[in-house]
Amino acid sequence: MVSPVIVAVALIAWAFSVHLPLVYTVLGLGWLLPTLELIGYRSGRRVYVDVAHGLSSYLIAVYAIGGVFGTIVTVFLAGLLPVFTNIAGVLLWPVWGVAIVFGVAIALPFIGFYNRTFGRVSPMRHIAIGYGMAIALTVIPAMFRLVFAYINYPVGTSITPSSTSNTGFTLSVNVMEALGNPTYPPLLLATIFGAIAMTGVLVSSIHGWRYASSRSEYHEVGHRVGNMVGLIFGVLYSIFAFWYLYTVYQYSPTMAWSIFGYPPSYLPSAFYSVYKPTFTLSWMLYMNIALGLIILALLLISLKVVSRPVEALKLVLTPLLMDSAELMNGLAHMPYAVVPPVSAAEALIKTYGLDFTLNVAKWLTVSQLLTPEINALLNVVSVEPGLLVGSLVFFAFFNVLLLYVIYAALSWRRTTTAMGV
């Protein structure tokens, strides 16, 4: 039987791998569309506005499917890591609250109104609606990336021994202090620029593919602008990704060890057994760098020559790089769900002793937070493995179906006989 940790991590990783490219695209389109409009109105070239209008329909569809996968992620987290999700909900509820208010309550009407008010309000007012939408959409990663930064390096956390808690301690978090997490700014900025870059490359690939056959100005503009956006923001992404990796090296020893393949120099050898990662992922780091360089070369080629194979490679490799980078970032925490800081470990040993500190570290691991003895899903899967096998078959089927629907949405053109919706 596959270990519960592998099952849990695989399911959560799968859901994230589908969710993240979709929400990256939503964020990227959020900023790209009003900018295209602005360029169009400033330069007097209507085609830019038409490209933005055409893409805005996809924004709604991608937002909806991405949102569904967000729900899947949450159900997996609640079902597989209930105590972790419970603690995260209790400690960081203002973060979840702000994210959901902006992500649903404010962003959804903005997206709807942006799409429906094309040509119905003054250009500058419509652009303002577009940038309002982009800001609302940006608040979502601004909040969720704080949680990601927190699990890298849990700034603002207080640990108190508790004789009544079954964990032996209780946690509390000062959210304002958590905002000062050094891994947070580069992670957030890399996310925003990465999302815009990825979206730019995807837009250029789709328009480039069509331009290869139709040679219309519409597709030429979409292809050229997408390439430029991908190139500029891709470079910015690289800068902030390297800054992020630097902060990870400085503050998150298990992640650093996993990603770079060796323990960070500041880590005392006595702590090696505590901070040793489950996976060595340096090969993923090198693969990601190689993928980034290949995409850069493809972008440069694409600026000069429009070729279907090049556009197809861009379309496939860019989300692959994004997923690979996110997976590397997520898996590098293992065996921990939240990586304990070295300074905190030292302080806890000094104040409460080694046993207490090791107990805290144990409770921050994925295997402990799975609480397998009370995890209903893992328990039923252990006696009825068919449930898991069936699930995987269904998930594979839906992945294929999802890809087909996305392909269909991109390839089918609306005609006067199609749905007028």
């Binding site: 079902g79 709807g112 899903l377 179906l401």
Partner: protein
């Protein structure tokens, strides 16, 4: 003074009540959107079936329209579902541990339903002119509808478990038995006696609850659809409007009859068995100790002399709140039962009139009654259906407060049955670090009300435009 304190002074409303208001409004709004989706996708599939079998373009047109309307309700409803889900994480955060340790299976299975909906529904909507074989397209629609009903089935299974503890589910108060808490957050641990008991989430009592809820959703939406078409028919007398009415109105009548006579009765029996305190609260049995209630006795036992424990027989800290103004009996007896019966009368009367018009139109009295039902129907049917649905939802969810996973056990000392479960207050479900200033509560409630309004507005825009425009698309 902050505006929140003007709107919701702390002295008037506790944190727990604020949390309950936010959740109640959110759940009702989400139920409204989900009901609208379930009813309209069912309508789309039924209409397309009629189009295929009768070769009547009217039904194709209706099916296509309802498929788009259902997609709008689904989109906003799904987004709203995320809002409700995060409400659980932030407000009732300890519920997450209960999901993981016990009631996860319906949530897990719901993912597949959700995937079915989100992938197949767009496929259904955007392939009206793409797939030439009408039966193939209809099957896609059927799959999309199945996804929706499967999703509802699973979520209602969770809601059923909150009111009736499934067999094999063990609720432990760790704090009182071992002096421990789960991570210092909640006193309660909920587990199954054995791993496969998790399937007991779908025991027969839960199925009664589930189908009661699903049917209520379809009744509500088809009542609204009937009312809209009836309103139009009274003014325009178009044949296509009558065609829809001859399907939806009898549909409402049949579903209401099943809801009231079969599922409603079974549901009442289950409430009596699992939560006699809830029964006392919703039926208005406001006395202390045992007392004979002939009507209740007749309904439950078929006799006239059985005694029931009154609401005040239980300690105050386990009783569901009645304030304001004894709302539980009003919502149950007044809204759900009385207005449900009236909905049955209106839909039943109109059904007879539409289906057997040749027979009944010979009688003056029948014409007079039909005229009254038709003139009042556009207002009465949706009002009755909406209030009955709200009454049912509030009865089910507020009647079990302050517990979830409720179970009644005999009192060995001869007192009223001991009602137990996981409490919603501190130490139970509520986030112990939560604070809700009045302005935040007001803001969230406004958003919760605004989102269904947004969906309705989008549907209105779609239907209004649809009547006057052809698709205007620039081809590049």
């Amino acid at each position: 003074m902050p505006i929140g304190y003007i709107l919701l002074p702390a002295a008037w409303i506790s944190l727990l009540d604020e949390a309950r208001w936010i959740s109640a409004v959110g759940v009702l709004a989400h139920l409204g959107l989900a009901s609208a989706f379930l009813g309209t996708i069912l309508m789309a599939v039924v209409a397309e079936f009629l189009y295929i079998t009768r070769h009547d373009e009217t039904w194709r047109d209706k099916a296509r329209m309802f498929s788009v309307v259902s997609t709008i309700f689904f989109g906003v409803g799904a987004a709203f579902g995320t809002l409700v889900e995060f409400g659980l994480v932030t407000i009732w955060s300890n519920f997450i541990t209960i999901i993981g340790s016990a009631i996860v299976l319906p949530f897990y299975l719901e993912l597949f339903a959700f995937l079915t909906e989100v992938i197949i529904l767009p496929l259904y909507v955007f392939t009206w002119s793409k797939i030439k074989n009408a039966w193939v397209h209809w099957v896609i629609g059927l799959a999309a509808a199945f996804g929706g009903y499967w999703s509802a089935y699973n979520i209602l299974a969770v809601m059923a478990s909150l009111s009736m503890r499934p067999p094999g589910l063990i609720v432990q108060n760790l704090a009182s038995t071992t002096g421990k808490t789960v991570a210092g957050l909640t006193d309660y641990l909920v587990t199954w006696a054995k791993p496969t008991d998790v399937w007991n989430m779908f025991w027969w009592g839960a199925n009664v609850f589930i189908f009661h809820g699903i049917l209520a959703a379809a009744i509500l939406t088809w009542s609204v659809i009937s009312a809209i078409y009836l309103y139009g028919y009274l003014r325009e007398r178009r044949p296509d409007q009558m065609k829809v009415l001859r399907v939806t109105v009898p549909g409402v009548a049949i579903m209401t009859a099943v809801e009231g006579f079969i599922l409603g009765h079974e549901q009442g029996e289950l409430v009596f068995q699992f939560d006699p305190l809830k029964l006392a609260a919703i039926e208005g049995l406001f006395w202390k100790g045992l007392k004979v209630d002939p009507l209740m006795s007749l309904l439950v036992y078929g006799t006239l002399n059985h005694a029931f424990w009154g609401y005040y027989s239980w300690p105050a800290d386990v009783r569901p709140p009645l304030a304001p103004f004894d709302f539980l009996p009003i919502f149950y007896l007044g809204f759900m039962v009385t207005l449900g019966v009236l909905l049955g009368v209106w839909s039943g009367g109109l059904s007879l009139w539409y289906l057997f018009n040749g027979f009944f139109s010979r009688f003056n009295w029948a014409r007079a009654i039909a005229s009254f039902l038709e003139r009042t129907g556009p207002y009465a049917m949706p009002l009755f259906a909406a209030l009955a649905s709200i009454g049912g939802a509030v009865t089910a969810e507020s009647g079990r407060v302050p517990f979830i996973l409720v179970k009644a056990s005999p009192d060995p000392n001869g007192g009223p049955p001991v009602v137990s479960g996981v409490p919603i207050y501190s130490g139970g479900l509520i986030n112990p670090t939560l604070s809700l200033p009045g302005w935040l509560v007001a803001l969230v409630v406004i958003v919760e009300v605004a989102m269904p309004a947004l969906a309705v507005y989008m549907v209105y825009i779609y239907i209004k435009r649809r009547a006057v425009r052809e698709a205007q698309v620039v081809e590049y």
